[in-house]
């Protein structure tokens, strides 16, 4: 079984976002980057499928040299091969998906895994764009995956419940938290990752379809009222919610 996992290198969740004076990009000075959390579930799932059914796993990322850190993390977890599609400038979801699809078309994996969304621009669209570009079925927001006999049975989250979705392979699967508990790279894995190759090639980018006009901070919210410090404040809170906020 040939498995590909697409991953992104993103600011960690504790990052306070600062916007550059160009008003279309963020200031990355002092920002810690990491393997996007949902992509980590995707890497783990790829490794589990490989361990159960044999096969090989390739991890792919699109970006500049800094993405090698995230690729090394996946290699340290146990992935064998890494591909960096090099691209330095601005790009949109469509452009990223196009470049990934070009690479994946040649690779022709049985399963392509993504995180359900990258936690930077939060589009949650790249994986499904790639699926459509490759004319493959896809299942998004997957919390349970069972691969067997050329098909996959997935359980995916929807509003207020789960859907059980059956898909033929090859397919694109988008991982959600809950799918698995990602392993920590072992010391041996980290050492081994250093000598695993990262294949670098230029990304085949498509023309951008979405243009950024402005990136800005959300309107600051002023601190509100402290209604009290014990349960005697409850009637006043209810009054405020009823009369002032009118939410109950």
């Amino acid at each position: 079984m040939k498995i590909a996992v697409c991953v992104n290198h993103v600011p960690d969740t504790e990052t306070k976002i600062k916007i550059n004076s160009d008003t279309i990009s963020i200031d990355t000075n002092g920002v810690n980057f990491m393997l996007s959390p949902y992509d980590e579930f995707a890497v783990e799932e790829a490794l589990r499928i490989k361990e159960k059914q044999n096969g090989d796993v390739t991890v792919i990322s699109l970006g500049n040299d800094t993405h090698k850190e995230t690729l090394r993390k996946a290699l340290a977890m146990g992935v064998e091969k890494a591909v960096l599609l090099k691209s330095d400038g601005a790009r949109d979801s469509f452009g990223i998906a196009f470049a990934l699809a070009e690479e994946l078309r040649q690779m022709a994996p049985d399963i392509i895994l993504f995180g359900k969304q990258s936690i930077d621009y939060d589009d949650a669209q790249v994986g499904t764009l790639v699926a459509e570009m490759l004319n493959l079925p896809s299942v998004a927001v997957v919390v349970k995956l069972d691969v067997q006999n050329g098909k996959a049975i997935c359980e995916r989250e929807i509003e207020g419940g789960h859907e059980v979705v059956e898909t033929k392979l090859p397919a694109v699967i988008l991982a959600q938290k809950g799918l698995n508990e990602p392993r920590y790279p072992s010391l041996k894995g980290i050492m081994a990752a250093k000598s695993k190759p990262i294949l670098e090639k230029p990304a085949v980018l498509a023309e951008m379809r979405v243009e950024t006009i402005q990136l800005r901070k959300p309107p600051a919210k002023g601190a509100g009222k402290v209604v009290g410090t014990d349960k005697s404040a409850v009637p006043e809170l209810i009054r405020l919610l009823h009369e002032e906020a009118k939410v109950i």
């Binding site: 990052t15 764009l129 919610l241």
Partner: protein, 323 residues
């Protein structure tokens, strides 16, 4: 010019996000002086399609076919793209629900369109639609313009209004031929979780954090939620500790929510949590620590012990709300 809105239904009932999408799309069509059409896809949906008239649809295209009884994203996307082409619609709007997010990229590729996902505001400026969407889980906001002729937008649920008004819609039934190969993946079963609303759709959310000390104390959150008809949310700390299921997690690695009221109980307010809920209209915080960051975004706060305050709040609300 023509705007097409996809009205999502499940079990032949429209989702609130369907009404929100139709109403917002109709508003944009009016500003652009464009025609407007709504699209409903399903099996046995013809009866409910007229409901969209109250949200500004004057014409609803209905694709009612037994093959859509079990949802398939690949088949459904083909129907939307086919109808959009037939209608000559160049602005396509879908809810950014789990279903909509699954369809929009496919529709965009089929129509050579650019896609602005998870929009929280749309405005018309010089004949262009400017879409506003949160990024970095709401730590920043981006305004974008789709450059392609055909444009696809998904609209975040619970953000756009869905107030009903007078109006009726003409129903036009049509069909789109599908091949077995169009059904690449198919929903086999839907499992409904709890009776409580999902946090992405709830008007009110009551959320609990580590200060509740253990999963056994979450009944305090659930009781308050049930009095308010609210959804139950949780912080990352309690989900990672295994106290609560991950589908309740609010924050950057959970769900981003925009309810009318968010009640944060014993949640300190880590950056990644605030990112996921600070667009709530009203925020109530109950926390022992007066310096907790949650108070910096809260409209109303009680600096106190949740174990004392929550039972009191639940019982007082029961009286107030007559439950």
């Amino acid at each position: 010019m023509k705007v097409l809105a996809f009205a999502e239904q499940r079990d032949n009932k429209f989702k609130k996000s369907a009404f929100e999408t139709v109403k917002a799309a109709r508003g944009i069509a009016d500003q652009l002086g464009a025609e407007f059409v709504a699209l409903v896809i399903g099996s046995g949906v013809a009866q409910v399609a007229a409901d969209l008239g109250a949200y500004g649809a004057t014409k609803v295209i209905v694709v009612d076919d037994p093959s859509h009884a079990q949802h398939s994203n690949t088949a459904c996307a083909k129907v939307i793209a086919t109808i959009a082409t037939k209608e000559g619609a160049t602005l396509i709007m879908l809810p950014a629900s789990q279903m909509g997010k699954d369809l929009a990229p496919r529709v965009a590729v089929k129509l050579n369109a650019g896609l602005a996902a998870d929009c929280v505001a749309l405005k018309v400026q010089d004949g262009n639609v400017i879409a506003t969407r949160p990024v970095f889980a709401g730590k920043a906001i981006i305004d974008v313009r789709v450059k392609t002729l055909t444009k696809v937008f998904t609209l975040r649920p619970n953000v756009f209004t869905a107030a009903a008004s007078q109006g009726s819609a003409a129903i036009e039934k049509t069909s789109v031929a599908l091949e077995p190969s169009d059904f690449g993946s198919v929903v086999k079963e839907v499992k409904v979780a709890t009776g409580r609303p999902d946090v992405t759709e709830a008007d009110i959310i009551v959320s609990g954090g580590r200060g509740l000390k253990g999963p056994e104390n979450f009944y305090l959150i659930e009781q308050l939620a049930d009095v308010l008809g609210a959804g139950v949310g949780a912080s990352r700390a309690v989900v990672d500790a295994g106290w609560r299921p991950h589908d309740e997690q609010v924050g950057q690695t959970g769900k981003t929510v925009s309810p009318t009221m968010y009640v944060a109980c014993a949640i300190s307010g880590a950056v990644q949590h605030l990112a996921g809920m600070s667009s709530s209209k009203y925020i109530v915080a109950i926390n022992k620590d007066k310096d907790a960051p949650i108070f910096q975004v809260a409209d109303y706060g009680i600096v106190g012990d949740v174990f004392e305050i929550l039972p009191e709040l639940t019982s007082e609300l029961k009286k107030t709300l007559g439950k």
